[in-house]
């Protein structure tokens, strides 16, 4: 057991030495891998943010009934009695125009602009929340409510959210395709790196076999090298994407707070990070394994 550990330790050290030995070539390789991986990764993060946003909206379909500016309390009570006991409705809430104005000031930091308006341009409104998955019933209610006296405009908030969801689904497919293609590229890059390494170490492999090295012993440093290359590439991609999200957040400023709570955009969490490491490391290992298996055959039967 301890001997196996020692042999793995030696193989790992050997792989590190090889990476460090040809620093410039190794670094360029790693950069290519890192950038390639960062493309689907960045898209994944963007989709994650958009999807968080739209899911909030779609999970609770909302219908807003804006009242006419001249609508009085009688009209409002009338509308409220129609809403009460309607089958499509989960709950509803009256939002007075003064309250709406306060919300607007707080939410988007628009207080300066609002002050300058001098008067409140917002109407009173009823915000109706449908039952979960009750988007269609709410759609029917929208057509109906639009004809009620005192209702100026009835607006359903789910349609765009559902459209965004569809776009996100398409985007996910693109991420999977792009990720797969670049995964294949990662395997190919590693395959080639290991091929060159094997060519450069021909004599060593030959002599080692002559004095009793097993195939596993000869393979091991190359497998470590491939895995390490994938892992370091993943680290570079991770760093690039996290940095980019930070920059984007700062650039978006106020707008970021519309997309995400507290204006903090979603980043790669621990699960994403582990998945990335396992995938990239695994693909690197696989590329190395393919290369070693194929190229070491040439040393048979010695």
């Amino acid at each position: 057991m301890s001997r196996l550990l020692r042999e793995h330790g030696l193989a790992f050290q050997d792989a590190l030495r090889r990476l460090g030995g040809q620093f410039v070539a190794a670094f360029l390789n790693l950069l290519v891998i890192g950038i390639a991986l960062s493309l689907p990764l960045a898209m994944y993060v963007v989709l994650g943010n958009v999807s968080d946003f739209s899911r909030q909206a779609a999970a609770e379909p909302q219908l807003t009934l804006f009242l006419r500016p001249d609508a009085d309390a009688t009209v409002a009570r009338n509308i409220e009695s129609r809403l009460k006991g309607h089958a499509a409705i989960g709950r509803y809430q009256f939002v007075a125009k003064a309250v709406a104005l306060e919300d607007l000031k707080k939410a988007a930091g628009l207080s300066g602009i609002v002050e300058e308006l001098g008067r409140n341009p917002l109407p009173d409104a009823y915000v109706v929340t449908g039952r979960p998955d009750g988007a269609e019933a709410l759609e029917a209610l929208r057509s109906e409510a639009a004809t009620w006296p005192g209702v100026d405009h009835a607006q359903l908030d789910t349609l765009w959210a559902r459209q965004v969801e569809a776009v996100i689904r398409g985007g996910r497919t693109v991420v999977v395709i792009l990720g797969s293609l670049l995964g294949v590229a990662l395997v190919a890059i590693t395959f080639n790196t290991i091929r060159l390494q094997i060519l450069g170490r021909r004599e060593e492999i030959e002599v080692s076999k002559l004095i009793g090295a097993t195939n596993a012993f000869i393979r091991r440093p190359f497998l470590y090298l491939g895995t390490l290359q994938g892992l370091i590439g993943a680290c570079i991609a991770w760093g690039l994407v996290m940095f980019a999200v930070g920059v984007l957040e700062r650039e978006l400023g106020v707008a970021a707070s519309l997309i995400a709570q507290d204006g903090v955009l979603r980043r790669l969490d621990i699960r994403d990070t582990i998945a990335l490491a396992v995938l990239a490391g695994g693909l690197g290992w696989f590329g190395a394994w393919l290369s070693v298996t194929l190229h070491l055959r040439r040393f048979e039967p010695v």
Partner: protein, 223 residues
């Protein structure tokens, strides 16, 4: 220990390097393979190490037929051999120490052991002071001795040496012969090829002579 029976080795070019050879080396024996250049000495040693496969006949080492041995078992068999190559086969991108340490690393020796054993082996070939040296800076004879150190560092039961004294001055040649004698005394089986048997003086060896791939003499052990 090592048996060749009816072995013929024909190279792709059509030439027969070894022809219907029967040769048996007992445990603890010191066999000197002699013959002119091209007689087939290197081929016989390569057959014994499983580096070449016989075209006909069988080669058996420690009771294992090299023709039918699992490829996974061959490395473990080789760890019981110490090979001295005619062309040294040193790795020029690492130090003398690391070259000699290679068989120990391959066999999974712990680090502390490796240092001790490598220095002991280098001491035996008179190159202890070149431990950190670069093989490229060594003379042909010194490279030869590093190769010998690498062959004996893991204390193999069998040493197969291909013209180990060919590049050595007489004084060093005598030293290496002395080293082989001492190995012989502690029970190591040796098969050593040479085109100048006189260098081995009065060592208790059995001389096996080859001429154009044919065994012409398979003597008794000299007393």
């Amino acid at each position: 220990m090592i048996t060749l029976s009816g072995v013929t080795k024909r190279h792709p070019g059509g030439q027969e390097a070894v022809r219907r050879l029967d040769l048996s080396v007992a445990r603890g024996e010191f066999v000197l393979l002699t013959g002119h250049s091209g007689a087939g000495k290197s081929t016989v040693l390569k057959l014994m190490a499983g580096i070449e496969r016989p075209t006909e006949g069988t080669v058996t080492v420690s009771g294992q037929d090299l023709g039918t041995i699992r490829s996974g078992a061959l490395p473990y068999l080789r760890r019981n051999l110490g090979l001295v190559f005619q062309d040294h086969k040193l790795l020029l991108d690492r130090s003398v120490f690391d070259n000699v340490a290679l068989p120990l690393r391959i066999a999974g020796f712990p680090g502390a052991d490796i240092g001790k054993r490598v220095r002991a082996a280098l001491d035996r070939v008179g190159l202890l002071d070149r431990e950190r040296g670069d093989p490229v800076t060594l003379s042909g004879g010194e490279q030869q001795r590093v190769c010998i150190a690498r062959a004996i560092v893991h204390r193999p039961a069998v040493v197969l040496a291909d013209e180990p004294t060919a590049n050595l001055d007489e004084a060093y040649a005598l030293e290496i012969v002395g080293l082989f004698r001492r190995l012989h005394e502690v029970g190591v089986t040796l098969v050593v090829s040479t085109h100048s048997p006189t260098a081995f003086g009065d060592a208790r060896v059995r001389e096996v002579a080859l001429r154009q791939g044919i065994l012409v003499r398979s003597g008794e052990a000299r007393a």
